[in-house]
Amino acid sequence: MRDRALHKGAVRSSAEALAAAKLAGRTGRRFWRALEELTDAPAFRRALEAEFPNAFAGVTEAGRREVLKAMGASLAFAGLAGCTAAPHPDALPYVTQPGDLVLGTPKTYATAVVFGGYAQPVLGLTHEGRPTKLEGLPEHPASQGATDAFTQAALLGLYDPDRSKAPRFMGRPTDWSGFDAAMVENAERLDATRGEGLRLLTGAVSSPTFARQLAELMQRWPLARWHVFEPVNQDLRLEATRLAFGRPLEIQPRFEACRAIVSFDDDFLGPGAWQTRNARAWSQARRAFQGGRGEARLMVAEPAPSLAGAMAAERLIASADEVEIMVQALAGRLGAGPAPQLRLTPRQAQWVEAAAQALQRNPGAGLVLAGAHCDPAVQALALQLNERIGAIGKTLGFCAPILLQPPDGTRSFEALAADLAAGRVDTLAILEANPVYAAPADLDFPAAMQKARLRIHAGLHFDETAAACHWHAPLEHALETWDDARAVDGRTSLIQPLVRPFYAVRARSVFLQNLQGRLGGDPRAILLATWADRLGGEADPRWRETLARGFVDEPAPPQTPGAAGAPAVRLRRRGGGITVLIRPDPTIWDGRFGDNPWLQELPKPFNKLTWDNAVLVAPALAAQLDLKNGDHVRLSAGGRAIEGPAWLTPGLERRTVVVHLGYGRSLPGQLADGRGYDAYPLRTSAAPWRVEGAAAAKTGGKTELASTQLYTALQGFDFVRTAPVAAAQPGPPHPPPPSFYPPRLSGSPQWGMAIDTDTCIGCNACVTACDAENNVPMTGKSQVANGREMHWLRIDAYYEGSPDDPAFFNQPVPCMHCEQAPCEMGCPVNASVHTHDGLNMQVYNRCIGTRTCSSFCPYKVRHFNWFDYTLHDPPELRAARNPEVTVRSRGIMEKCTYCVQRIEKARIQADVENRPIRDGEVVTACQQACPTEAIVFGDVSDPESRVSKLKAQQRNYSLLEEVNTRPRTTYLARIDDGATHD
């Protein structure tokens, strides 16, 4: 990365700092005396020990023999540890493989990464002990082989140079022995008070091992308390089920069974732990509709564009309060509740009527959703509606909350803040949570926290919260630890390490032991202890099978709720002012991915912004406030204010603005530091998602925002197309227009790709997967702002129609691999060439960088290394690279290769077995990650291949057909099941 002012080397060491402090102001002879004093000072010795632990590990007393022994052993071990980062010897590979590592042959392990407490089941690929790629776990129903962008990028989280690498005391790096000593001492104190004043604060967690350890801890210290702080949570949804059914339940929608979905501001296809599962299920229903089996009607009423809204047949823009009123109107229409006199606009009434009819047309196959940030009473009403239309048990299931619920339930964090403020907390241990940055503004958590006597933080990063704590303990990343967690469907994943920890970090389970004064600890043993009664011991085949498979195949037991009751919904008409919607950032989430360059440079849906968040403003409001993109706007409500750059967003309700969490960090020296604005100060515990009656004003400041797509209006072009449902049937072949050039490609296989824009939701999983698979360099904000991002695959976002009420389209654009490729004609040095199997290839070491290929490319899918973007990458990031893909240097062109390394791998295997490559044997990285299976790759010379069958559909079209480049990548038009449907 070029413009990151990061990884500038370690902070000045504490020994240096101490010595400097002691020596300050001394000169001459006194200096020498001072140095002697200095070396004897206990503080200095401690600091020195912390910095050079080996120097004090008894070596000074060692005799000659010991020294020789040590030398011999070191040499022997140096040979053993030739590859320093080996996988854990007890981790079990996914597929049966020879016991020894075969160099060049990657191994896969089934494991999981954790996001918001939920397990994201993955297959981790390791090359010579280095994890290089995560794929979805095919057998796991919540993944089915697909991933979301966060899961793809979790790999880089492992290698993150900003990760905390050593424990710290009072912000200074130290070693674990000091930490252990402090914990032992504190545990004795807590033993005396039976845990009085001990508060454990964690992020959302679903781990059975954590539950077991917590129970143990509570047994020992019954007066201790556990709290949860997760900034982006489902609390209101649990509250709604509690209102409706008397107990908190987690909803388990079955989108695959839905033929009509009515969503009230619920972005079920949007980012989140459940995105992969929901999107896959929804696409299955959509594909059934394409095949002529019923409808797959999606109706969305929402204030701000969402991924689900963009796919809706009928999207209605309504403010948040209007959406809530419309839920009641629909309930009234379907007889699920009182039908109060509601004033709807004709458009809204029409939409509600259409929604009611769609649900009635599809009895038992309809689903009504209300957003997780809607008023719980409204959500409860939606649940009642589902009961009314017979959805419960068919399209909507329930289970007990998958995330562990703290004693105070959804008020857990507020209870902690109150106790802290009241001085009732003695020891505060914070695990994997960052309340100092993200706590609701009204709780004034940072100040309250200072009242705790001992504050301990454990996490991946030395973040804002860590800086406010006495002790900071660095934890292991999910890819280097033993743990467990439950996926969104309730199945428990066993997390096994792909690699030994890179740094002196500890597993969370070990930290929990240490907190109780028990030193050491083996995370694998702790995990085994949790599962001993279910899976036997480590020698038990059940354990070995489960570990190799990666998860315990038991979904959450379904719960059958009783009749849904719903409390009366308070009608809330908003007054004057502006509604501010607070949402997690689509790529940075609540801030946890701020140091992940793959996610920072991942273009956000619709606006394609990178490296920053913006205040999304409707064009009409922007005109009223005289705002242009990047102009600072100040949002104030209830005495709190935030200021950020505006971004004009078509399809946003005209009096609503959207702010995204996760930016505006102050983490000196880290990647996330100082990017974007912080939206948390506007957030209160009472109104975490929506602030009514806010004022917006232009301030005169300006920020240059880096978007990868400056124009999103379709302007009448036919880059994206719509077609009637009949066009999903095969049609007569569609010969390409005549060309002067002879067709020169024959033989089999001939590779090609079909992308279904009818199921592409624009979730970005493919883009991140491509980044990971192909070592795509991240270039930094200034380069992106200059039009120099390197993504081989981009998702073009277009809107059509009035900016006040547009239709949205997503179009993934990889290289088209044109049969008549203009780039190949342009290159003077044969660096852009065609292969016999139809790939348009870029020969990096032949490229001299004339850039003619890109100038001639009608699709502009080629990307140029304007600088050496990879040369200055820290060694950690180099370790994350895929060894099967060349790392490109300065001055050469690069682009999508259809994952040629995967094609070659399949070809070699097929050659070894003396057979042709089978259909589906080559899966590109984008295709593999896609939750909706919108991308299909294969042999177009085989009429029976999946891709050929898709291309035979009438709705298949080439992008820019008129240029007659004969692309191998073609698109399937979106099926228009809009208002015309009867």
Partner: protein, 449 residues
């Protein structure tokens, strides 16, 4: 030709030799020359620094991006090479057509060609991502048996420019041999005698020498003329071969060649009027010459205007939305300033040249030529960027602004040109003395005959 300026007596011949060959040996205006030279050398320094930073950092220091892969470097390249064309046209074509009035202009026009092609030819190399590999465009027998890609317009562009530079250099040098000999003979110092003696290749003015010389000189001219056409045709194919709207047009080759000649004649006219004034060469570069230069500039200008029209018509006639979009960007969009700037500067002052009075007026001719030079630069700028910044997909549209380093390299390339040109007028006979004498003699014979 009956103009009285041509010397027809032996004394007149000597005067021509003295006037032309004497300038390098006993240089007038030394102070002025030094001031100019220092300025030019300063700009050359800027060039070297800009190129150095470019080589160290990478082409990313420029403002280029995707989609605007090609920046100021390419538009300047076309501009410089285009300027170069006039020298060859004046020398070679008019030599073959026996237009004797060219003799006062050809030497410095050819030198101008050489220097402009040097300035232009360096640009594509500087603009490469990996400039140290530029020779891969040459068809040399490499161990890997990889040849250039012969379908590419760039390959032919590389050949064309290199050939053009080589032929121009030889043509210019061969043409100057007799004058090097004259300068050698007039040289007073030993160093100058050796320097010019080596350059003169032992020329003694023997009839056999003249015979051989005439043969080779005409041959080189015959080779050079088609090159003028090929070079800028090739450059135009750099654009026209691709499928990009605004470029892919069959009128491009003639349009580019004529535009090149147009800008070249304008620069020759500027240099002629400037040198004429600086060195008092009114009797050698006469108003007759200015008149002829004016006519050529006017003719090429009007043909270039036709190119504009044809380009416009093609776009409109095609009816393709992207072509129309590009046309709109040029005429009324973000590049309107460049488009209308080019139209106005190229063609409006040009109309003055319909009148002989203005054509033969050095001040008017200089100003019109200056306007054309700037206008043609704007045209190149407009042609490259208005096309690239918005091509097909709306999603890939992005603006481009040249960075400081691109401007500094451009300023530096002007410095390179001026430095070379100033060294040329300081050290070498800038007007072809023997050809003027020859022409004068032939005219005398004709008059008497």
């Amino acid at each position: 030709m009956t103009d009285a300026v041509h010397p027809r007596t032996p004394a007149g011949y000597a005067a021509v030799t003295n006037e032309v060959a004497g300038i390098p040996l006993d240089f007038p205006h030394r102070t002025t020359w030094w001031i100019w030279f220092l300025c030019a050398a300063g700009l050359l320094g800027v060039y070297i620094i800009s190129a150095w930073v470019l080589f160290v950092e990478g082409v990313g220091i420029w403002g280029n991006n995707i989609p605007v892969n090609w920046g100021l470097a390419i538009s300047n390249y076309i501009w410089w090479i285009g300027i170069g064309h006039a020298g060859t046209l004046i020398s070679a074509m008019l030599l073959l057509l026996q237009q004797h009035w060219r003799n006062s202009l050809n030497r410095f026009a050819e030198a101008m060609t050489l220097f402009a092609v040097t300035c232009g030819g360096l640009y594509p190399i500087l603009h490469l991502g990996r400039p140290w590999r530029f020779y891969w465009m040459a068809p040399y027998p490499s161990t890997m048996k990889v040849w250039p890609q012969f379908d590419s317009p760039l390959t032919w562009d590389f050949f064309a420019v290199l050939t053009y530079l080589t032929v121009s250099l030889i043509f210019w040098y061969v043409g100057a041999i007799p004058d090097f000999a004259s300068t050698r003979d007039k040289a007073k110092t030993r160093g100058a005698q050796v320097f010019y003696g080596l350059l003169a290749l032992g020329w003694r003015g023997a009839a056999r020498h003249w015979g051989r010389w005439r043969q080779s000189y005409r041959l080189m001219a015959a080779i050079a003329v088609p090159l003028v056409v090929s070079v800028h045709s090739e450059i135009s194919l750099l654009f026209a071969s691709g499928p990009i709207p605004g470029w892919t047009s069959t009128v491009f080759p003639p349009y580019f060649v004529l535009g090149a000649a147009f800008s070249g004649f304008a620069v020759v006219a500027m240099l002629a009027t400037a040198l004429r004034r600086a060195f008092g060469l009114q009797n050698l570069v006469t108003s007759k010459h200015l008149d002829m230069l004016g006519r050529l500039t006017l003719a090429c200008g009007m043909m270039t205007a036709y190119g504009y029209f044809a380009d416009l018509f093609t776009a409109l006639y095609s009816g393709r939305p992207q072509e129309l979009e590009t046309l709109h960007d040029r005429i009324a969009g973000p590049f309107a300033w460049a488009y209308w700037g080019a139209v106005v500067l190229n063609f409006i002052p040009l109309q003055l040249l319909w009148r002989r009075r203005f054509r033969s007026d050095p001040v008017v001719l200089f100003l019109v030529s200056l306007s054309v030079t700037i206008g043609m630069w704007l045209e190149r700028y407009m042609l490259v960027f208005s096309t690239l910044f918005r091509d097909y997909l709306v999603s890939s549209w992005a603006p481009y602004w040249p960075s400081f380093w691109e401007w500094s390299l451009f300023a530096g390339s002007i410095g390179l040109f001026l430095t070379l040109f100033l060294l040329f007028i300081r050290l070498l006979p800038m007007i072809s003395a023997f050809e003027i004498k020859e022409a004068g003699f032939e005219e005398k014979e004709a008059a008497h005959g």
